[in-house]
């Protein structure tokens, strides 16, 4: 086993979204190297958006991401499977071999050693002998195994998985979780968006429960409480085009009233957007979130709407 040096990923008052509407709202926290973090929350909670922010595909509307994220060489990302065109006539070997992109790039030739590495990665996920098969002939579980083999080849210190086990049977999930644990033991940071709470409790020591903002971030058992889950379900999903601009990231005026959010209407469900009174779990090793008063932003960013 080769040790991997991952950097911590630091989210500093991060707001991500589309068209000025926040999908991830004022998120602050730290993902430690080697952590296994599950991101959980209802549909529309901003989980995939957060991953897009981490890979640098989406620029923050406010706040920032620093540390070991946002740079190509340090990240391996498994998107949801529907992004792949399985009708494209490429073989499993070709698909998995693209994990070597960082080493071979656009022009580099594939040698015999690369072929060996691809076969080895396929063996790791139980797909030995599938090299010549067309991608379109794989089952959903086999395709996911192939994508995990590709991640293995990428040899990245940070691995992001977007709903890796949706529509995957238990046997496949157990095999792939073995691989995920191995990545973590090698010192890689693994962040996975998941829906299956039982799987999260069984396999992931750290959890971020979010409903646009963080409801809880820390040890899985302390985050996935019935109370927290009920609060996550209370999130309003629709964007409100008439929502006022969020004052937590004031542009041009820093008279301090941006720290008080009581005047905002947070919609039904009674949750509060800005974290002062969240039951965050503090002081754990590994990943943890801190409720933190946002400071006036020094960099001018466009204001975003509040809901």
């Amino acid at each position: 086993m080769k040790p991997v040096r991952a950097e911590p990923i630091i989210l500093d008052d991060l707001t991500l979204g589309y068209d000025r509407h926040p999908a991830v709202h004022h998120l602050t926290g730290r993902i430690e190297p080697g952590a296994m973090l599950a991101i959980v929350g209802p549909n529309g909670a901003g989980k995939s958006t957060l991953l897009k922010g981490l890979i640098g595909e989406l620029r923050p509307l406010g706040g920032r991401i620093s540390g070991g994220a946002g740079r190509r060489a340090t990240l391996a990302y498994v998107p949801q499977k529907d992004g792949i065109d399985v009708s494209y006539p490429v073989s499993v070997f070709d698909l998995v071999a693209m994990g070597l992109w960082e080493r071979r790039g656009v022009f580099g030739a594939f040698g015999r050693r690369d072929g060996g590495a691809v076969s080895e990665a396929l063996g790791l996920v139980g797909l030995s002998g599938f090299e010549r098969r067309a991608v379109g002939t794989l089952s959903g579980g086999q395709l996911q195994r192939a994508l995990f083999a590709r991640v293995s080849l990428q040899d990245a210190p940070v691995i992001l998985l977007d709903e890796p086990f949706s529509a995957i049977d238990n046997a496949t999930m157990d095999d792939l979780m073995t691989l995920v644990r191995r990545w973590s033991e090698e010192g890689r940071t693994v962040v996975a968006v998941l829906h299956d709470l039982a799987a999260v409790r069984a396999h992931f020591p750290q959890t971020l429960l979010m409903a646009r903002h963080a409801i809880g971030w820390g040890r899985t058992a302390e985050v996935l409480t019935p109370d927290n889950l009920a609060r996550a379900r209370g999130m309003t999903e629709a964007f409100d085009d008439e929502a006022p601009f969020c004052e937590a990231n004031p542009v041009g005026h820093d008279d301090g009233h941006g720290h008080h959010h009581d005047h905002h209407d947070h919609g039904p469900g009674g949750h509060h957007g800005h974290g002062h009174d969240h039951p965050h779990a503090h002081g754990h090793d590994g990943a943890q979130g801190q409720a933190r008063k946002p400071e006036p932003a020094s960099n001018a960013q466009a204001p975003h709407r509040h809901d």
């Binding site: 190509r72 998107p79 494209y88 006539p89 992109w101 790039g105 067309a134």
Partner: protein, 288 residues
């Protein structure tokens, strides 16, 4: 039989020139067309082939039937429409297929109008259907140069172009080459449409890109095999059309495209991969 096949080429230089032109169009068109089809852009190619018309027509109106002016004009018009359709699709509610269809209709109408104002019906027929039997040396050199550039460019950018089709999200996370290689691909596409325009005219220019590629889909399971089959189909259909046109005294461009069309229709029904026959004949199944 041998004489039927070889005689015209031995006897006439214009037939040999047409053969060389078809060879160039086939070699470049096959890989480009396969990538185009796999990106679900066959119709985009068709639309673009009309988009080059106003450029060639304006060049014709200003400079007459000048190869270089019409080539540059067509390339500029095609490039401008690609950019305009792309920008408009990103800036407005319309999708790229809708913007491109709008632009190509406008282009076709404008181009036909300009040619009609300036020239005769013979010239218009030349614009619409090309003149593969009248390829002079400079035109042939241009077509061959475009084919060489295409093969070179595709060889260079093959990996990002294929990955951008299979898994664009992944390509974005490992490399910045997606957008530039796509842009280069579109430039090569416009160049090949201009080459096709000289031989086949604006209405059929895309024929050597689309028909061989979709035919190859029924004969090969992997990408390399498809490109190989597409090249053979393009060359075979082109030569068959050329000979048919010579012996039966019918227009050459349509004859070649119709031969490709025959190959396509036969493959739809009889090809070994995913054809009507292949999907409806269950056959014996294996044990595992």
């Amino acid at each position: 039989m041998i004489d039927w096949l070889v005689g015209p080429f031995v006897e006439f230089a214009f037939m040999r020139r047409a053969l060389a032109g078809i060879l160039a169009l086939s070699l470049a068109g096959a890989p480009l067309g396969v990538l185009l089809m796999l990106r679900r852009m066959s119709l985009t190619g068709d639309g673009l082939s009309h988009a080059i018309l106003p450029g060639t027509a304006i060049a014709y109106a200003l400079f007459g039937l000048s190869l270089w002016h019409m080539t540059v004009g067509g390339f500029l018009a095609g490039g401008a429409i690609v950019l305009a359709a792309g920008v408009m699709a990103r800036a407005t509610v319309l999708k790229e297929d809708a913007t491109l269809a709008s632009f190509y209709l406008i282009s076709l109408a404008l181009g036909v109008l300009i040619v009609s104002l300036r020239g005769s019906n013979v010239d218009l027929m030349h614009f619409l259907f090309g003149s593969v039997l009248a390829l002079d040396d400079p035109t042939l050199t241009l077509v061959a140069a475009i084919a060489s550039l295409t093969l070179f460019g595709l060889a260079l950018l093959w990996r990002p172009l294929v990955l951008d089709g299979v898994d664009p999200g992944f390509l974005r996370t490992v490399s910045r080459s997606g957008a530039p290689s796509y842009f280069a691909f579109m430039i090569l596409l416009v160049l090949n449409l201009v080459a096709g325009f000289h031989a086949l005219g604006t209405l059929l220019a895309v024929g050597f890109l689309v028909l061989p590629a979709v035919t190859a889909r029924f004969w090969a399971r992997d990408l390399n095999g498809m490109v190989l089959v597409a090249g053979i189909v393009a060359l075979g259909g082109g030569v068959a059309g050329l000979l048919t046109s010579y012996h039966a005294s019918v227009p050459t461009g349509p004859a070649m495209i119709l031969m490709l069309g025959v190959a396509f229709l036969l493959s739809v029904f009889l090809g070994p991969v995913g054809s009507v026959l292949a999907t409806h004949r269950a056959g014996r199944h294996r044990t595992g």
